[in-house]
Amino acid sequence: MKRLPLLLLSGLVAVAFAACGGKQPETTPTPTGPNTDSLRAAQQAHDDSMKAAQEEADRRAQAEARRRQEIADSLAAMGRGTEAVKTLLATMIHFDYDKAIIRGGDAAVLDQKVAILQANPGLRIRISGHCDERGSDEYNLALGNRRATAAKQYVVSHGIDGSRIETVSYGEERPLAQGHDEEAWAQNRRDEFEILSGGESLKQP
């Protein structure tokens, strides 16, 4: 059994001798110029990845554009809604001479305003009362005040918080129609409705 380690030892010595003492065998291959196959592959890979990235970017851009278009579309839709609501809200109501009683037909107009105010809780409005030129200038301030207040009372009685509505009167100082006949007077005996705040985007009721 003693021979085996010895043999192994001699073998190791022989190997060590061969490794240290002799000339190194020329086993390492020296580069002999570019490997065109691998370059082509690398190029291919690179091109592929670039293309993929580009496609991805395009896809994302398209998605972004689509998203933006959707937002724009919806904003436009919302804007159209806001404009429509604003038009509804600005519809005037009219009065008989020297009267501040809401006419039957105008109750429906006020009902629309109630609905708009309910659908848009942030909305605050101002109602201004106006008169025709026939009455006394100063009395008309009091009459216009009654007309504005009458509309507010109607809206408040239908559930709208009174603090959201301001009333003012301009008497006969700001006529809408300049004529001096019944047609002009009838147009001028009116309540106007304007947005004080919260009117940036309005929901349809």
Binding site: S128, E138, Y139, L141, A142, E173
Partner: protein, 463 residues
Amino acid sequence: MRRLLLGLAVLSAGPTVRPSDAQDTSAIDRGVRIGIVYRPGVRPGMVVLPVHAPALDSARVILARDVDYSDRFELITLPGGDSIRVTAAAPGARPPAAGGAGRTGGGGAAAATTLNYPLYQALGADFAVAVAAGSGDSAIVTVHDVAAGGVRRELRARLPALKDPGFRLAIHQLADRVLEAALGVGGTAATRVLFVMDGKVYSIDQDGADQKLVSSSDHQAMSPAWAADGRRFSYMEFWQGHGRLFLQEVASGKRAPVATTGQALDFTPAFSPDGKTLAFSRATEEGTDLYTVNIKDGCCLQRLTVGRFYDNLSPTYSPDGQRIAFVSTRAGLPQIYVMAADGTDQQLFAPFDYGATGSSNAPEWSPDGQTVAFHRDVGGTLQVFVLDVRTRAVRQLTSVGRNEDPTWAPDSRHMAFVSDRSGYRQLWIIDVETGRIRPLLQKSGARLPAWSPRLPETASSTP
């Protein structure tokens, strides 16, 4: 004056009364002679003598117009008009030239004057007024009593230069003193009228000259009102739908908002006669009601009426400050009511027929306290009325066109108002006693006039 009015009443009683019947040569009341042989009317005649210095002639023209607009004299033109040279020789004046009137008359007159009293008497003049330059920048106005053939009074006043803003006011004040010297009554020459046009407040001399803008902002203005001392006025401006009241000094033009106003619709300000309190209308969601505020200390808002289901507005103080006349809709249509200045004892003032009488608005208490002017809807248009405070009788003053917003002159005899009788709305002045009417301002859209009291000297510097 009473006898004079009596004479007028007799004269107008019927066509059967000849003018000579109305003449009462024995009647002398406060120096007024009623009835001289030849005269076109029953008013005393006055001739304002020509002068030939440019500044003084301008003064004479203004003074003569004031005399005419007082409606208390028959203004007499000399034959040959102003070309005639009649001179009241004042210090420095040139000697009189030849003409229809020379040195022949005026035997008993003051030593310095040579007037042809018989000529003036023949023309129907009871008084002759001469304007002359005094020493320095003063002017002398001499009031001659023609029948007595002598000087009634010599009035001296500093006369600012022709282009000085105080020039016209100085003449107007002399004109008022002429009235005082001749008849013993106060005039209205030295006054201005505030009014609204195109949303701004303007001021104008009562003779229609010297229109000036007095409101100083772009906010739409309404309802100017004078303080009784003529040194301040108030008016309302729209501020984002609210009505804010302002006080403005005449002399400096400075203005300040009235405390506690501007949060609601505050309008129709009215000064108490002592100038300490401003009454006004305030429109809220409860309706329109009357309030007062202490403008001396800028405090102490007081509510005078509680309308709830009706409106109370347009206050006007009695000149003693004890009562306020105002408009109320408590009976349906607006009508004229009165109450104590603290808001108690509210009652109907101008009687009306329920269901028949039209709306009545815009009351203004006369400075003598005896009447309240207002306008009332008659057949779909407005007419000016006066209420006799003592008897509560109502009299209609106007009937031509639409007439509204009357305001009293300090003589409680003349009244400015808005009328469309000429085709468009403009300011007019009526003499309530004779019914004579003249335009104050021929511009369309002038309205809401407020006639000043007699203006103090210091008001001469600016509007």
